[in-house]
């Protein structure tokens, strides 16, 4: 059983780790969430390995672990009147750290929408279902997040309407 699991982690960890980094925009937290995800999978490994799509199961588990983490944090957060304006664009928006800094300025839900749609390649409908929000909200958040990222990363090319399913 452990050898099956180990093989599964070796095959999937890099991808899951990248997803976690994009969801959290924090490399340390990402590793924690990935480990928590695999711990949950290991605890139910007999069931997971019989699933039709264990990799998809792992991805959904990671999203749930992240959202649970957010819920725990949110319980102690205070509402603010307005989202702070993003800081001026980065000097060199080419490195991963710069992109992560820009992603950190998005709301966690906006970031999750982007990751599910453009990294996990899920449809608007699937993303809306996974996050428990409307499809209209998914499109609106995608547009807003794209606009913010463009400003932050100093890409001034025109912004067309958000992607449709």
């Amino acid at each position: 059983m452990t050898s099956d699991f180990t093989e599964f982690v070796h095959e999937t960890a890099a991808r899951l780790h990248r997803t976690a980094v994009l969801l959290t925009a924090d490399r340390h937290l990402a590793e924690d969430l990935v480990q928590t995800t695999y711990a949950r999978l290991y605890a139910s490994w007999r069931r997971v390995r019989r699933a039709d799509n264990p990799v998809g199961y792992a991805q959904v588990t990671l999203t749930n672990v992240y959202l649970s983490h957010r819920r725990l944090r949110r319980s102690g957060e205070l509402p603010v009147d307005a989202t702070p304006e993003p800081t001026p664009h980065l000097e060199s928006p080419d490195t991963a750290m710069d992109v992560l800094a820009a992603l950190r300025e998005l709301s966690p839900t906006d970031r999750t929408v982007l990751v599910l749609r453009y990294w996990e390649d899920r449809s608007v409908a699937e993303t809306a279902r996974d996050l428990g929000i409307s499809e209209t909200a998914v499109r609106a958040r995608t547009k807003r997040a794209a606009d913010r990222l463009r400003v932050r990363l100093a890409d001034h090319s025109p912004i067309p309407d958000a992607r449709t399913p």
């Binding site: 925009a25 290991y42 102690g76 992109v99 992560l100 453009y118």
Partner: protein
């Protein structure tokens, strides 16, 4: 560049240059996964014992209410012994806590004015809320991973006294990495905190005796 391409490229850039510590993830997740399973099993066993005890207690209560022993003997559906006995676990295995089973509290504690912490043993962390929007995630980790953790941290590096030794603080990740003690070290991730504030708060983190 349209949104599709822009977002796909941006996310790909954000996920670049990553080294995944697969072996550490494997060993860490197996350890934590076993702990989750043990808790499930222990919970089920304790639940079973609680049910047996409840039925035993109920029968004992009824027996004290009935006036005659004969009535007790004729009363269907209740044990006549009156004293619950230990039942075997549903799995047939003895339930013995292992050495690594958490003892119900974290290895460290944060005692500072205006700060409260909630412990999540299954995740080896506690979430602490401070004044205003200040918060911190305090994780305890295997001491052998400390050097690796330090090497991967980013931003300006300073040191600060913490936990009876010297901690490493990295401004990029807003993290203070405590000195190792025994098999643990801690990381303190500040949220809405400046580096000087992190340095101040971590002085209030202390090891607990008989922790995990």
């Amino acid at each position: 560049m349209n949104d599709d391409t822009f977002l796909t490229d941006t996310l790909a850039r954000g996920a670049a240059d990553l080294t995944t510590p697969v072996d550490e993830i494997v060993s860490g997740s197996i350890t934590a996964g076993r702990r989750i399973r043990r808790r499930r099993t222990t919970g089920a066993v304790l639940g079973g014992i609680a049910c047996v005890a409840a039925v035993g207690a109920a029968s004992y209560g009824v027996s004290t209410l009935l006036p005659e022993e004969k009535a007790i003997q004729e009363s269907p559906g209740f044990a006549t012994g009156g004293t619950p006995t230990e039942s075997p676990s549903p799995t047939g295995l003895p339930v013995t806590p292992e050495k690594e089973t958490p003892k119900g509290r974290a290895p460290v504690v944060l005692k500072a004015d205006g700060w409260t912490c909630e412990v999540f043993l299954v995740d080896d962390k506690m979430w602490c809320q401070g004044p205003g929007k200040a918060a911190a995630s305090v994780n305890w980790r295997a001491a052998r991973e400390r050097a690796m953790f330090v090497s991967k941290s980013t931003g300006a590096h300073t040191t600060t006294p913490m936990l009876g030794g010297t901690g490493d603080v990295f401004a990029g990740d807003m993290v203070a990495i405590g000195p190792a003690k025994g098999k643990w070290f801690i990381t303190f991730h500040g949220v809405e905190l400046t580096v000087p504030e992190i340095n101040e708060v971590v002085t209030h983190v202390a090891w607990q005796r008989n922790g995990k």
